[in-house]
Symmetry: C2
Subunit: 332 residues, 2 copies
């Protein structure tokens, strides 16, 4: 069925799967020709499973390029696997799309997935492709593996641990403000582009996560916001944490915005969508953590301390507490 001129090409459900998604299937996916996929269980390993959903208008903008939407959907899930110390293997995908999004959109979406599959070494196992009258709604279940006992939970932080974070914080939040609000008009295009890229194309730390097995006591990925996610670790570990504002790693673009006082650092620590790894480890591990990070050419920063008690405190260079109004994004 070809669309008329100007209208998107409409393709059937089975054709859609055969043409765009079946080529993404790995061996266990059975060519997406069966009711379900078959997965061999690696000896001595545990499978690690996570699922995240994204909705147009909430998690991405409907007009974003489909290949970037696909990559973000996959990457936010791979970030959850990395936060457990797991290596990614497979994923299942369900898409609820408007009929108005024709073949070209789906093709771009699948192309984005294909590129990321090759980059991260994962394969599609199966899923569902349905129609909706509402915003595009995507759900992805990612499956990884970790040696039995090598998983890194949120609940293992102990008083005395250092708090670490990979990469830089706040760029995705600032990138969204550039995209959505046209904010920071005086910033210059190179910095603005760098921030937008960080929002649209997160880089899950899939290589760092598994390397921290046996080193980190607790780990989480920064999705809700640095302070909120550290709060999740503290809550499940039954402890408190103090974060030193001067130690938070900001990118050159973020530093330029802070220097102009166009935004404040606390917003960058509560904006979320960073998909960096936030972890707690004993001081004795400082050397090995620096080595691991250097071997991956990845920046890690020691930003605070785990303490007895409850809750997360932010302090300035003089040790004075900085007020936090909200710690992160909530859906309801």
């Amino acid at each position: 069925m070809s669309g008329s001129a100007g209208a998107p090409e409409v393709i059937g459900e089975f054709e859609r799967i055969r043409r765009f998604f079946a080529p993404l299937a790995g061996p266990g996916g059975l060519g997406l020709l069966d009711d379900a996929a078959l997965v061999r269980c690696p000896a001595g390993q545990r499978l690690v499973m996570t699922a995240d959903a994204m909705v147009a208008g909430v998690h991405f903008r409907a007009e974003d390029p489909p290949e970037l939407i696909a990559k973000k959907l996959l990457r936010v899930n791979l970030s959850d696997l990395a936060a457990m110390g797991a290596r990614p293997l497979y994923y299942l995908l369900t898409t609820a799309l408007s009929v108005a999004l024709g073949a070209e959109w789906v093709e771009s979406f699948a192309r984005g997935l294909g590129e990321d599959q090759r980059f991260y070494g994962v394969h599609l196992l199966g899923g569902d492709s349905v129609s909706t009258t509402g915003p595009a709604t995507l759900s992805l279940t990612a499956i990884g593996e970790v040696a039995a006992g090598a998983e890194i939970r949120r609940s293992g932080a102990r008083p005395g641990d250092d708090v670490w974070v990979s990469g830089t914080i706040g760029d995705a939040y600032l990138g969204l403000r550039v995209l959505r609000d046209g904010a920071f008009a005086g910033l210059g295009p190179a910095f603005a582009d760098a921030l937008v890229t960080r929002y649209q194309r997160p880089e899950p730390r899939t290589r760092l996560g598994p390397r921290l097995s046996g080193i980190a006591h607790a780990m989480i990925d920064v999705s809700d916001g640095l302070l909120a996610d550290l709060g999740h670790i503290c809550e499940t570990s039954g402890c408190a944490a103090t974060v030193a504002l001067p130690e938070i790693p900001f990118s050159p673009a973020a530093l330029a915005i802070l220097a102009e006082e166009w935004d404040n650092p606390v917003s960058l620590m509560t904006g979320g969508d960073d998909y960096e790894l936030l972890f707690c480890a004993p001081p004795s591990a400082r050397g090995i953590i620096a080595e691991v990070a250097a071997s991956l050419a990845l920046q890690v920063a020691r930003i605070g301390q785990v303490e007895a008690g409850a809750g997360v405190r932010l302090v300035d260079a003089a040790g004075r507490e900085v007020a936090i109004e909200t710690t992160g994004y909530r859906h309801f």
Copy 2:
């Protein structure tokens, strides 16, 4: 946060998970307190994975009772596992819900899941709970197990095989017509209720499926429509099939409608949503299939034959071909 009088109670995202979904988590779900779930791989087994999505207004009516929506979502996925001969173990769930659906709705939805978890012996592993401005959109990934080599694919049908189907066909389609169109007003409430129940509360054949390992050459569950799903088996197996209309099992309620000529049998075979098992097996297996069915107190009917060639033919009592306009539901 309590809602004002008359408005639904709005509860936070984390509170929503803690109150309603965490109690559904099995051991591997880690209390839904981590980034991902941990699954032990059973020795000698394969894990079987499938995902289906449902959208309000497409797969269910927005006004349907939340507990029935939850059960249908879980059951259609368990049906896919059964069609591979797998036993169900776990599931992950993502929900995209309007803020207008308050705590009461979510509580009912979770109660429905809880009831079905106990009935089918499955546990929640994880997922995501996000907001949407559109129709409620639900996605569920189900995970089961099957002994290595015991899986039943769609691709194993051979000429000479019998075609079998469990239960009765067309009730869910007729039930939807009762619900949505107020059809069959003269039918009587007991029959009407029975049909609506079949639409709202499918019964996946989770006990029959695994029992057919080593017996059935090919299997699928009837979701798109009997004829369409038999077409899927024929396509992947590289063969044809002929179905005898007089052998199709109809319920007393469906027979009453057909007797009044309020609908025609072909519509019942293309309406879908039956979630019965459709399978192909050699004539030598007739005895054991009858025994298995009897031991489960489940009806199975031998409705046709697999042949060389391609496509699905429907014939009447005299062997004359019956015209089929469309074989089943498609989303696009």
